[in-house]
């Protein structure tokens, strides 16, 4: 269906279900309970899940298929964001033009960067892209301050021109909207002591994410995707058979740049503000981590990786000592302090440490990322059912999708 085989369609269906029901899935604990700390079903984080999912899906088209490791993808995200915010300042607060222009501008920028960087491969390519990203960051931070707002960044202001919008009512602030539907507006449903928030912006971002996920499946399964895999497995052999890999790699680079631009545009649509640190090299490194954590070259992996990292950044980092003490207050005093002191380095500002440990464990024991973990578990269950009828998933030669 939809030009997909049965397995892929099932995957798309599962992802659709999960994104549409995210407000329920991410809010499993009742409000007010101690575990409510771990609820992730509030609009900002849900939006971040899908937006960074798009960013990682796009990155995976380049890194997962061609094997070219770009260390500067945040630059496209940032350029897309700046393009989107300028559309909001000059044209209209409607998110559609902003998102389209973000994709186009990021695409054009990635043509330039890709054309130069793809003259080299391996580590040299990575360093070239890193250099471009840091150049963009520096330009946005200081040199181009009139266009980018420097460190302070840009926001829509009341007195921006906005040619297509009618004048704001006195006292109203410009809000990003889709034909009048504010991205901030939410509907809250309360069932028992559970509270579920359905946010307009989240659903817009989720639909865009599903579309980009579908497009990614089509690319993975297309002859073009096969060519990209050929680039990864042996570029020389490809050249000897008379094929020029350059157009393929450049196309993959531009596509993933446009995905990044799309993510950047959506970020502005959900939260209309942009600052230069969005392009800093750590942001580029983050998407590499997401892809590897989830599973390089798999379809769903990058989305899982993006979710895992954003969850840690937003949930683990907000646990402070006060909360720890309330969790362990049932223990005797001395033991409570001991446990709190032992746990403290891994939560709050120590969330990077937790992330680092998880990342190391995954890379060492599950080189295929979280997806490989899921496959192993599925393999175990299946083996139990058929009592040894299936070989372990990791032994299979085909790529893990």
């Amino acid at each position: 269906m939809l030009g997909l085989n049965k397995k892929d369609f099932l995957l798309l269906l599962i992802v659709t279900m999960l994104t549409m029901l995210a407000p329920f899935v991410l809010n499993p604990f009742p409000e007010g309970s101690a575990l409510a700390q771990f609820n992730a079903g509030y609009p900002d984080l849900m939006q971040r899940f899908v937006i960074f999912g798009i960013f990682a899906i796009g990155f995976n088209i380049l890194f997962g298929l061609t094997g070219y490791l770009s260390f500067g993808h945040a630059a496209f995200l940032g350029v897309g964001s700046y393009a989107a915010i300028w559309m909001m300042k000059l044209l209209t607060m409607n998110v559609i033009p902003a998102i389209i222009v973000a994709v186009v501008v990021a695409g054009l920028f990635s043509v330039v960067v890709g054309f130069i960087s793809l003259r080299r491969s391996g580590i040299y390519f990575s360093i070239l892209t890193l250099a471009f990203a840091m150049m963009s960051y520096q330009l946005a931070y200081s040199v181009l301050t009139p266009i980018t707002g420097g460190e302070t960044g840009l926001q829509p202001k009341v007195n921006d021109p906005r040619l297509l919008d009618s004048a704001l009512v006195d006292g109203a602030t410009p809000t990003a909207n889709l034909f009048g539907l504010s991205m901030r507006s939410s509907y809250e449903l309360e069932i028992g002591s559970w509270l579920f928030t359905f946010n307009a912006g989240y659903y817009v971002a989720a639909v865009v994410m599903l579309l980009s996920f579908y497009l990614a499946i089509r690319i993975f399964r297309s002859p073009f995707g096969m060519m990209l895999r050929a680039v990864k497995s042996n570029q020389n052999r490809m050249k000897y058979t008379g094929l020029n890999p350059k157009p393929y790699t450049l196309a993959a680079f531009v596509i993933s740049g446009m995905y990044a631009g799309l993510a950047g545009g959506l970020m502005v649509a959900m939260d209309s503000q942009v600052g230069p640190e969005r392009m800093f090299w750590t942001a580029s490194g983050e998407v590499v981590l997401m892809t590897i954590l989830g599973g390089v070259g798999t379809l769903i992996g990058p989305v899982l990786g993006a979710g895992a990292i954003k969850y840690m950044e937003n949930i683990i980092s907000k646990i402070n000592t006060e909360i720890l003490h309330s969790w362990f207050s049932f223990l005797p005093d001395g033991l409570e302090d001991l446990i709190v002191n032992l746990t403290y380095p891994f939560i709050g500002k120590g969330w990077h440490l937790t992330l680092g440990i998880v990342f190391m464990l995954v890379v060492i024991f599950l080189p295929g990322g979280l997806v490989e973990g899921a496959q192993r578990i599925a393999g175990l269950i299946r083996r139990k059912d058929k009592s040894g009828g299936m070989p372990p998933a990791s032994a299979k030669a085909e790529p893990a999708e």
């Binding site: 931070y141 926001q155 449903l189 928030t197």
Partner: protein, 449 residues
């Protein structure tokens, strides 16, 4: 356009009791509140959004200490600190408006994206009715805009750039800390008295927004005193070795070096300048001098003995001898064992000012709170008589001009107050060109729902 953003906590508790009691699941569609996160229970949640990682983590940690102290005092714990000296007497140690103060914390990472994410989770998940904190102007401007959109009050922490209450001012945002313009206006007279009116200045400026506004402020104020600006060079924010920028200074014909740097930048550039012998040098027949417009104790500690004799400005210093400062230093010192920084002071004061404004307004509604703060005149919070100006939500108070101590007695005793510049000297009109001119506007307050 359904916008049924409601408060969580209070209704939750009642709803939970009913929901548990009945076997059939209860579906609630809740009625709209008057404003975002209206506290309906017996407690109110504040969001403390400070840098816990990154370059300003030290300041962030000190801010968090101050917030915890403020919450303790508001809830009636500890010795009450500045509650006793504050000129407004509505705070009685029974929380804010009779509700117990609770708080959530977050990490801004000194990045505007991370800061906004953290603030949004406080508003959307934890039901915070006020966000405060931060140690950089970029973050302050970003979070202030977010609070304006979301309909909660933002009480800025340490942010010194003119833009926060200048071109990027917002109706829901308030700043107690002073700004670049005030630094320039306070420093210029002291400098001309100490070094004469016939000086040639050379600026090294951190290449970002705060650097620009500070350079402009110091430049305009000193030029008005008769100084001449020889050159102004921008230095990358990530620079750690400033020797190549310092080397040309002596040949330029300048006899004063102004370092528009903050944090680690200032520590490194000042150390380089001293190593190059600038302090001992002579130029145009005068002693060569160095000026650092914005001082903080944490920076002075980093630069060590190099700060001796160097002028700068600061918002507050723990060695001040008024009753309020003494009370604050005492309760902070008792709890943590060392004196508070200016970042801690401004954050503590902001929390008290918010609490008092809610009490006076008789409501947590951001518009009512804003109205109570606008034009509010108060005293007894460590800076003498202070005005929260209605036009731009900036506090106007005396500015301290400080100098690095020659013989510090301990690691906290690094600065001495040279002069307290009266507020009249640092006053400016709300449409001053450095503050975004006539175009800058607060907009109108946004209560959210």
């Amino acid at each position: 356009m359904i916008d049924l953003k409601m408060n969580r906590r209070g209704l939750m508790k009642g709803a939970a009791a009913v929901g548990v009691g009945l076997s059939a699941p209860q579906f609630f569609v809740r009625g709209a509140n008057a404003f975002t996160n209206e506290p309906t229970g017996s407690s109110v949640t504040l969001g403390f959004n400070v840098p816990q990682t990154g370059p300003y983590a030290d300041e962030g940690a000190d801010e968090l200490r101050a917030y915890e102290l403020a919450v303790e005092h508001l809830n009636g714990g500890g010795d009450g600190g500045m509650l006793a000296t504050f000129s407004s007497k509505t705070l009685e140690g029974n929380g804010i408006f009779g509700k117990k103060v609770e708080y959530v914390t977050g990490d801004t990472q000194t990045k505007s994206d991370a800061a906004r994410a953290s603030a949004r989770s406080m508003i959307e998940k934890d039901g915070a009715v006020m966000i405060t904190g931060g140690s950089s102007s970029g973050v302050a401007v970003a979070v202030q805009a977010l609070c304006q959109e979301a309909g909660v009050i933002f009480m800025a922490g340490l942010t010194h750039s003119n833009d926060t209450t200048g071109k990027d001012r917002k109706a829901n945002g308030f700043r107690h800390f002073f700004n670049s313009y005030m630094s320039g206006a306070a420093l210029a007279p002291v400098l001309s008295k100490a070094y004469g009116t016939d000086r040639k200045a050379y600026h090294l400026t951190a290449d970002y927004n705060w650097g620009y506004t500070t350079e402009q402020a110091v430049r305009e104020s000193t030029e008005a005193m008769g100084w001449e600006t020889v050159n102004a060079v921008k230095t990358p924010l990530t620079q750690t070795d400033f020797s190549s920028y310092i080397a040309p200074v002596l040949q330029s014909g300048a006899d004063v070096l102004v370092l528009n740097h903050y944090g680690g930048n200032m520590v490194n550039s000042l150390t380089n300048a001293v190593q190059f012998g600038l302090r001992a040098a002579q130029a145009n027949g005068k002693n060569f001098e160095i000026v650092v417009p914005l001082y903080s104790r944490l920076m002075a500690r980093g630069a060590g003995s190099n700060v001796a004799g160097i002028y700068g400005s600061t918002n507050w210093h723990w060695s001040l001898q008024d009753e309020a400062s003494k009370a604050f230093v005492k309760s902070f010192g008792t709890k943590y064992g060392f004196p508070p920084s200016q970042a801690a002071h401004t954050c503590y004061v902001q929390t008290l000012l918010y609490a008092d404004a809610v009490n006076r307004a008789g409501s947590f509604n951001p518009c009512a709170v804003g109205e109570a703060l606008e034009g509010f005149e108060f005293d007894g919070l460590g800076n003498g008589p202070t005005l929260y100006r209605a036009e731009d939500h900036q506090c106007f108070k005396d500015v301290l001009v400080v100098r690095g101590k020659e013989n510090p007695e301990n690691e906290f005793d690094l600065l001495e107050v040279v002069e307290v510049t009266p507020v009249s000297q640092v006053m400016y009109s709300p449409d001053h060109p450095q503050m975004g001119g006539a175009e800058a506007t607060l907009g109108t307050c946004n209560p959210g729902a």
